[in-house]
Symmetry: C2
Subunit: 298 residues, 2 copies
DNA sequence: TCGATCTGCTGCTAAAAAGGACCCAGCCTA
DNA sequence: TAGGCTGGGTCCTTTTTAGCAGCAGATCGA
């Protein structure tokens, strides 16, 4: 749609913070981009950007404008998607932001299953925490967010929710593997490999530790679950992960045991979209699939 | 905004049902219009219209498309309105559909009051029944609807409501003027001048008549309250009108008396907008004014 | 049945808009 | 003060759009 190209120009310029950078991203010359922006400002009878020597920044009018423009871009994409759907061939791109835990197992399987049925649909998957996910939804960079976090921001609209118990991960030869079910007090005497502080699993564990009047002293702190898992495989340390992050196939050399948390029997994994937005067909149908997957796992 | 001109082209063509007629309305040549449509269809990779020898009609894809296009047109107008508001000068056009009763007194005063404060805002006022009003909101032909009717369609979003008692209108010399408050049974022996059947006041009266195990036999049926009022002024017939339709200044030769209806002490007058739509600043502020006016009259 | 009259559509030409290349002046930083 | 940014201006080419005249086909009425 050539007619909404100008929206994209404004959007990219706003993100880039500079006409020249934006022009490079858009593969046009800065002068051309600048003139397009100026002509739009002329039509709206107001500047949209504050011009500084170090770049441009949106003014209040521009903030309003890009907000509308981004929504319109997304809605035209959605329109195209619906039209494709009418023609029988479901096409389009589904863009997802999600927590790290979803990446190794859950999302690949879900996407594989979806694409078995609709091979015309492509996927973009990005990792993000709750805040970044919210931002991605607001700027229409993402259609769906799957976030494991207690945040319930007002911009989110939850499509589905599933309770996620926490599991302890350890080497297959670990003493604690003898127990079928663990408590945090069982683990606390062993070296702990924990996710870094902002992560939700860490929050849950810290809360539980507080209940036990103790503090967790991790020997390893990481933001990578992969690293964490590989680390515990070759040591006597204990790591933690939520259910959805675990492979069904047991990883060589590791064992998992459910962890009994008194504070909370697992946080909630949310499938969410931007409040009030109507999604492209592909994204909506994929969301449905995930929702039913959540429901059947309950 | 030149870039959304194509939306208007599609919209007008869809309404006109013919490329040539639409081209005439738009003051361009049919060939140009036709080519614009074709190029858009090429971009969307689907026809939007069914071509017949007697004109064009939207196909399903086209229906989806115009729906989006109309919304986008309205939202760009709203954006402009907000930008104007940011600049301090409130400008723009507020388009209203309303019941007939609002036209003689209520709306003119409200608009006058609003324009005293914001002379840059213009108004378009159209009369419509509930169904036509709903259609006008859906097609973004109107921003606000003020409808006296029991309909609560799912596309409406009620902003404010006020109860409207029914009044009887008669000549100033009428016998019934001796009573301060009337019942329908008081009127039933006199010739009746009633609004036509689909109108809400008529519905209320018919309901009340049913309660009294009788049927109303109007000697005059009209859709014009003006005619009705002038008719009763020079006869001994009795007419009916809701409160908001009455001038505060007594019309020469007529008197009004409140009518006590047992079925319902007056229907509801609704101020409504399209569900989920965010209005232009002018329309939103005018709606606020009407809402407070409703509230203070309760 | 046969025009008259609609319809959408298509070459063609002219005008207008958008894009590209280049240069300039102003501002900030080092 | 010099160098590297910035946005903005100018000239030119390319692309897009509008207008004109005319096409074939469908519809309707005499």
């Amino acid at each position: 749609m050539r007619n909404i190209l100008i929206y994209k120009y404004i959007d990219v310029t706003a993100r880039a913070g500079s006409v020249r950078k934006a022009a490079e991203i858009l593969s046009i010359t800065p002068s051309s981009l600048n003139r397009r922006i100026q002509s739009l400002e002329l039509e709206l009878d107001t500047p949209l950007f504050e011009r500084h020597a170090k770049g441009v920044r949106l003014n209040p009018a521009g903030e309003h404008a890009v907000h509308v423009f981004r929504r319109h871009i997304a809605e035209i994409a959605e329109l195209k998607s619906r039209i494709e759907d009418l023609k029988g061939a479901r096409r389009g791109t589904v863009s997802i932001v999600c927590s790290q835990s979803l990446l190794p197992t859950f999302l690949p399987k879900q996407i594989q299953a979806y694409r078995d049925e609709f091979p015309g649909v492509e996927f973009r998957v990005h990792m993000a925490d709750g805040e970044a996910a919210e931002h991605a939804l607001i700027t229409y960079d993402a259609d769906l967010a799957i976030i494991y976090s207690p945040l319930a921001m007002e911009n989110f609209e939850t499509i589905a929710t599933i309770r996620q118990p926490v599991f302890a991960i350890m080497s297959a030869s670990h003493k604690l593997t003898k127990k079928k079910k663990l408590r945090l007090s069982d683990c606390i005497d062993y070296p702990l490999a924990l996710p870094k502080i902002p992560y939700a699993v860490r929050n849950l564990l810290d809360l539980e530790a507080k209940r036990l009047n103790t503090t967790l002293r991790p020997i390893v702190e990481t933001e990578s679950y992969i690293f964490l898992r590989n680390y515990v495989a070759s040591s006597n340390a204990i790591g933690f992960e939520i259910e959805v992050g675990l492979s069904q196939d047991v990883i060589d050399g590791t064992a998992v045991r459910p962890l009994d948390l008194r504070v909370n029997d697992g946080g909630l994994l949310h499938l969410a979209q931007l409040r009030g937005r109507s999604l492209p067909v592909g994204a909506a149908k994929f969301a449905e699939q995930i929702a039913t997957s959540f429901a059947s796992d309950t």
